[in-house]
């Protein structure tokens, strides 16, 4: 069993009238790429900011490397590379100066790594931060997070603003980091990104954790996308059985997600005079939307 790197136990953060997060509990093991998904405003950034010691929890506990996130934020940060969702860099500094500041704060000589990462991500180190586009500012953040070669990477919406080619390079870098034993915790609302990278995923809705599964489980947990077309009209409530979701039915065709006993649905389908049938694995997007129903 791998060592636990991140542990959340009943973590709660409330902002008075505004919703924060409520009773979030999960753990992330060493070497894992863990996805944290949910729509905007679900509480992903609040959870991450609490983990980073920026926010003090109103209940529960959060720890990284066995240390309390609020109390030992500075010690924890020595081994954590953090990429915030928003660009938060000093606009008057040049990229090289900004990254040197990061290296200085971590007490590392990051010059060679800075050069290597900047080259791979096609980042111009001589430009002023304020003059950069959103995507280039994101690249500064990625290099800044990777610069100290941390044991844990926490990335909030990391690919937001990156073009597909850079996203591909970024994914490669993350896989390499994983190969070196780095634990990666990333939040996203882009499911394809999570699908490509993550081993496990936590799903957040309205500040509450509603699902925690491995990617494999999530896809193999009985969810199937079934599309049928028939020779005769399908009765209106024909698919009104437990396990059917996201039903889209027309006169002689229907499409739905099914999660349940395979024999039940097969018996049901046998009652139809089928013209065509397609049974496939639903995309994560569809499973995710199903969670939000």
């Amino acid at each position: 069993m791998n060592e636990t790197v991140i542990l959340l136990d009943g973590l709660t953060k409330s902002y008075g009238k505004h919703r924060g997060i409520e009773n979030i509990s999960f753990s992330v093991a060493q070497g894992e790429i863990f996805g944290f998904i949910g729509p905007n405003g679900a509480g992903k950034s609040t959870t991450i900011r609490t983990l980073m010691g920026l926010l003090k929890p109103t209940g529960g506990k959060a720890s990284i490397f066995g240390l309390d996130c609020g109390q030992y934020a500075a010690e924890i940060a020595k081994d954590v590379g953090y990429l915030p969702s928003e660009n938060c860099y000093y606009n008057n500094l040049k990229v090289r100066e900004m990254l040197q500041y990061t290296a200085d704060l971590y007490g590392v000589d990051g010059r060679s790594r800075m050069g290597e990462l900047a080259e791979r991500l096609n980042l111009d180190l001589s430009r002023r931060i304020g003059d950069l586009s959103l995507g280039n500012k994101k690249k500064v953040g990625i290099v800044s997070a990777l610069l100290p070669a941390p044991k844990l990477l926490i990335m909030d919406e990391p690919t937001n603003g990156l073009d597909p080619l850079v996203q591909q390079t970024f994914n490669q870098i993350l896989q390499e980091e994983k190969g070196h034993g780095t634990t990666i915790f990333l939040s996203s609302h882009v499911l394809s990104e999570v699908q490509k990278l993550c081993d496990r995923v936590a799903i957040l809705r309205e500040g509450k954790l509603i699902g925690l599964q491995s990617m494999k489980e999530l896809r193999e947990n009985g969810y199937k996308r079934i599309s049928v077309s028939t020779k005769e009209a399908i009765a209106k409530d024909f698919f009104a059985i437990p396990g059917v979701a996201d039903l889209k039915q027309e006169h002689r065709s229907a499409s739905f997600i099914f999660n349940g006993n395979a024999m039940t649905i097969m018996n049901k389908l046998c009652q139809l005079e089928l013209e065509d049938i397609l049974i496939e694995e639903p995309s994560l997007e569809e499973i995710f939307l199903h969670y939000y129903e």
Binding site: R49, M52, G53, L54, L55, K56, A73, A74, E75, A77, K78, V80, Y82, P84, E86, N87, C88, Y89, Y90, N91, N92, Y101, T102, D104, L105, Y106, G107, S144
Partner: protein
């Protein structure tokens, strides 16, 4: 020291411009104002009858002394120093929030204690440099245009400027930790200093000592310095207490507060 170095780099131009501007102004304005009072007759009647000088703590008798006009001018430079100090103190705390850099800095291994110390050190050094520039320029202009002034009294008057700047710097730091998302630090500083100045002028006009404790401009009265050769102890102790409270509360608060991003 890393946080201090970058904080200094960020504020150095601002500090040096203020230091140079204040030094040049006191150097140039002092001989002009001394020229206005070559004889008491040259003073505007409005000034002499309206108690104008008394509101800044300079009696007519003191005005005719070697350091009288300097004391008068110093009162106005203390307003400028107060605005500079409070703006710098506020900005060191609010800039991270308003420029959205807090999430970067506060997630680095330096920790909140070092960040606070780095910023406070930058504030203190900024105030120190401005104070030294002001003191030297004041000394130079008086030595050139009004030689033979009492040195200790001059020193106490010139230091009043730095003490006022420090007071408002600490107040800015304190207020900045309470309201880190303040997007108008210069306006806040200007208004706070103006209100404090009005409180002192009001307390002197109506002769109410209790009210005078509410404003630092009352603590370093030039007439008292001239008469007793030092600041009033009660004010000085109150001043030190307030400055310490501002620093302590802002320190404690900056360790515990949620970082607004």
């Amino acid at each position: 020291m890393v946080v201090f170095q970058y904080e200094w780099k960020r504020n150095q131009k601002y500090i040096l411009i203020w230091a140079a501007a204040l030094a040049v102004c006191i150097f140039c304005m002092t001989p002009v104002y001394y020229g206005m009072i070559e004889t008491p007759e040259t003073l505007s009647e409005n000034f002499t009858q309206g108690g104008f000088f008394e509101t800044v703590g300079v009696s007519l008798a003191l005005l005719m002394e070697p350091l009288g006009m300097y004391s008068f001018l110093n009162a106005f430079f203390m307003i400028a120093g107060g605005i500079f100090g409070m703006h710098l103190g506020l900005a060191t705390q609010t800039k991270e929030c308003t420029e959205h850099t807090a999430e970067y800095l506060f997630t680095k291994p330096c920790g909140r204690k070092k960040i606070y110390r780095g910023k406070a050190l930058c504030l203190l050094i900024g105030i120190g440099i401005t104070g030294i520039a002001y003191l030297l320029a004041s000394f130079l202009t008086l030595a050139l245009f009004k030689p033979g002034f009492p040195l200790v009294e001059f020193f106490l008057l010139a230091i009043s400027f730095t003490l006022i700047t420090l007071f408002f710097g600490a107040l800015g730091l304190f207020w900045g930790t309470l309201r880190p998302n303040n997007r108008l630090p210069l306006l806040t500083a200007g208004l706070s200093v103006f209100v404090a100045y009005c409180i002192t002028a009001f307390s002197r006009t109506i002769g109410n000592r209790a009210i005078s404790f509410l404003s630092p401009f009352s603590f370093f009265n030039p007439s008292v310095i001239h008469e007793t050769g030092f600041y009033e102890w009660s004010y000085l102790i109150w001043y030190l207490l307030l400055v310490m409270i501002f620093f302590l509360i802002s320190y404690q608060r900056s360790l515990k507060r949620d970082i607004a991003v």
